[in-house]
């Protein structure tokens, strides 16, 4: 019987455990807080990556606007922190004390209505989930109900990212403009800038990340996960099996948006500010790159991809700033041309069979079948 009722199969379990060991033990023990904070920053992109695995790898919906949701989540969190940082005592120097500094510079004399809910942390947490979720729902419903897909969807999401960037930059009295929302300090009086806080935030983030991994894995293992795969291949067949394809696409897109938003909110906490440069087209496509490098069909691949590409980016740009773009561009072409299923594909095709051959007496073929049940075959 092929039906695998276990939550993880063997190779996934290995992936899960080794990732947990890496993130909970190895990295915190071996890195100083500066590097650990960098890892935390990289991992915020892994949230986006996990969402992209669901929506792009499984559902075949390529969104080039994930930065929009990352940014919305990040901005929600930043608005809360900014309000807390803008107490009357901190902003005595302004003409209107008690409002964020950039509002004061733009002659606003009161906090605008849509900022008000962000005085409350519970509402903020809610907004981080709800705002991107609703936004994704509206975009998704409008497009998928009318069967806009593939390339067109990609281009339209890109345009949305461009629109939102121009809006945020243009409405600087309400959004902080191109500088973004900066100088965030405390969360309920707890200084998030200290090393100690960064250390704790790192673990909070990793726990959330594993939450997302498990949620994504859950979705993948339900029938919904299989319908996503089915939809990617034979949309009509799914439709004529009695499913509303649009609804499933909307679901995948919303889920990806919410994951991205959680990542964005964590980004704000880890880095200490949010700016429109994470909303635009370039960051959105870079997030797709991370996922593609890790393997668009693999949840763990997305995490490793985000870590590795960003790690390479930091290393390369420290030592060969000129070469970084050549490296990134080349990497991307190589992945697309030669390894469409990314690192996880290389692992499943080359490394895993060897390990299996070494470790067990089972036939390699059987092992391959099992692991590919989990990872799925690459999209053609």
């Amino acid at each position: 019987m092929i039906i695998n009722s276990r939550f993880f199969n063997r190779s996934e379990l290995i992936g899960f455990v080794s990732l947990a060991v890496l993130l909970f033990l190895i990295l915190p023990l071996s890195l100083d807080i500066f590097r650990l904070n960098l890892v935390a920053k990289y991992l915020t992109y892994a949230f986006v990556g996990i969402g992209l695995v669901l929506c792009w790898g499984y559902g075949g919906i390529l969104s080039l606007g994930q930065g929009v949701f990352f940014g919305l989540g990040g901005y929600c969190m930043a608005m809360f922190l900014k309000l807390e940082a803008s107490s009357v005592a901190n902003t005595k120097i302004q003409s209107t004390p008690g409002i964020p500094d950039f509002m004061d510079w733009n002659q606003l004399t009161a906090v605008p209505m849509f900022w008000k809910p962000f005085y409350s942390f519970p509402l903020t947490v809610l907004a981080i989930i709800i705002v991107p979720g609703i936004f994704a729902f509206i975009i998704g419903a409008a497009m998928f109900k009318r069967r806009v897909g593939g390339v067109y969807f990609a281009i339209i999401t890109q345009a949305i990212a461009a629109i939102l960037t121009i809006l945020i930059v243009g409405q600087q009295g309400y959004t902080g403009g191109i500088n973004g929302i900066t100088d965030l300090r405390t969360l309920y009086g707890w200084d998030i800038r200290t090393d100690h806080a960064k250390f704790i935030l790192y673990f909070v983030e990793v726990v959330l990340l594993f939450g997302c991994i498990i949620a994504a894995q859950f979705i993948r293992l339900t029938k919904l996960g299989r319908i996503l795969v089915a939809m990617r291949e034979q949309e009509d067949r799914v439709r004529f099996s009695g499913y509303s394809v649009a609804n499933f696409k909307i679901f995948a897109f919303c889920a990806a948006a919410i994951f991205a938003a959680v990542g964005g909110a964590m980004f704000t906490l880890e880095v200490g500010f949010m700016s429109p440069s994470f909303v635009g087209i370039v960051p959105s496509i870079e997030m797709v790159i991370y996922t593609a490098v890790g393997g668009r069909m693999s949840i763990f691949g997305a995490v490793y991809g985000s870590l590795l590409v960003n790690f390479a980016k930091t290393m390369l740009s420290e030592s060969f700033p000129q070469l970084w773009l050549f490296g990134l561009g080349g990497l991307f072409i190589a992945v697309v041309l030669a390894f469409p299923s990314g690192l996880s594909g290389i692992w499943a095709d080359y490394v895993q069979p060897r390990i299996d051959r070494l470790l067990s007496s089972r036939k390699p073929k059987a092992a391959w079948t099992e692991s590919s049940v989990a990872d799925g075959a690459p999209a053609e």
Binding site: L62, L64, A142, M143, R146, R147, V148, G150, V151, Y152, A154, I155, I156, Q158, A159, I160, A162, I163, I166, L167, V169, G170, I281, V282, I285, V288, I289, A292, Q322, L323, W324, L325, F326, L328, G329, G330, L331, F332, I333, V336, L337, P340, E380
Partner: protein, 308 residues
């Protein structure tokens, strides 16, 4: 807002504003033509299109400095040489890219998008390494600068007229090549049925390569023309790419006429809006309108109704 101005003034402005829209229209058409060929005819999403344009701009810059240095007497006419060279340079690079990369990806349109994005990063850095991070200024011959005094109060920029004339010329040339020449028939045959086209003796690989090269070459000419109105820097290409794609998609991907119609409507909307509000808001509203219309009519303005 207009109460203080005389009717004559307003008329003149209206005329010039209409012309500003037409210049924007020409710019969009020039940008989008190459892309429309590559996307519409081949289904390839070339995210590096902007970089092919910038290559044309750099070629123009190099030609202008070379001519200024070695053959100053040629300077008034150098622009035509530069455009030819830009076409050849971008076109050959395009063919090289098609051979090395694109031909492996014809069945995966979304992947062409990602791979060409990688290419665009590489090209940007290459330009930066070769030409420096700073923008380069292309000096124009005197006859191309300044404006033509149509009436006392109406001035029409000469470079704008030049761009418009160029656009018309290239559009006609492209239509001829695609719709009347025998090569164009081959291209369309390949688009409609690759296997059959191959079976009747069309060298589909060659057709693909030249089609892609043609699209990129036109991008090169566009880049060359842009040196008259815009800037030439390593990352300038990225500014155009989203607009360009929207023009093509909005027009209906497979239709040249659609591309032109969409460039026209988008440019007129934007330049009209720009007159009544700030540039930023005009852009936002234009983009939003396009996205909204595309959501309602995903196939774009001009699309053939066909049985799937």
């Amino acid at each position: 807002m207009f109460g203080d101005y005389s009717l004559g003034d307003l008329g003149a402005i209206l005329a010039m504003q209409g012309f500003a829209g037409l210049i924007l229209f020409s710019v969009y058409v020039l940008m989008a033509l190459g892309l429309a060929i590559i996307f519409g005819q081949m289904g390839v999403i070339n995210m590096a299109h902007g970089e092919f344009m910038i290559l044309g701009a750099y070629v123009t810059w190099m030609t202008s400095t070379t001519v200024q240095h070695y053959a100053p007497w040629l300077f008034p006419g150098y622009f035509f040489i530069a455009m030819t060279l830009a076409f050849i340079a971008s076109g050959s690079l395009g063919m090289l890219v098609e051979w090395a990369m694109i031909r492996h990806l014809y069945r995966r349109p979304l992947d062409t998008l990602l791979a060409t994005w990688g290419l665009s990063l590489i090209l940007q850095q290459a330009y930066r390494s070769v030409f420096g991070a700073r923008e380069v200024g292309v000096e124009l011959p005197d006859w191309m600068m300044g404006s033509w005094q149509a009436t006392d109060s109406i001035q029409i920029p000469i470079n704008g007229m030049f761009v418009m004339a160029l656009t018309i010329l290239i559009t006609i040339a492209v239509s001829y090549v695609l719709f009347w020449s025998s090569w164009g028939k081959q291209v369309r045959a390949v688009v409609q049925n690759r296997v059959m086209a191959g079976a009747v003796g069309i060298n589909t690989e060659k057709v693909d390569r030249y089609t892609f090269g043609l699209g990129c070459g036109i991008a090169g000419i566009a880049g060359s023309a842009f040196t008259m109105i815009g800037s030439t820097g390593p990352t300038a290409g990225q500014l155009y790419i989203v607009d360009t794609f929207l023009v093509v998609v909005f027009g209906g991907a497979a239709s040249l006429l659609g591309t032109i119609a969409s460039a026209f409507s988008i440019s007129q909307t934007q330049s009209t809006l720009e007159f009544f509000m700030s540039g930023s808001m005009a852009k936002v509203i234009t983009l939003l309108t396009i996205v909204a219309i595309l959501m309602m009519r995903p196939q774009g303005l001009f699309a053939l109704k066909v049985r799937k």
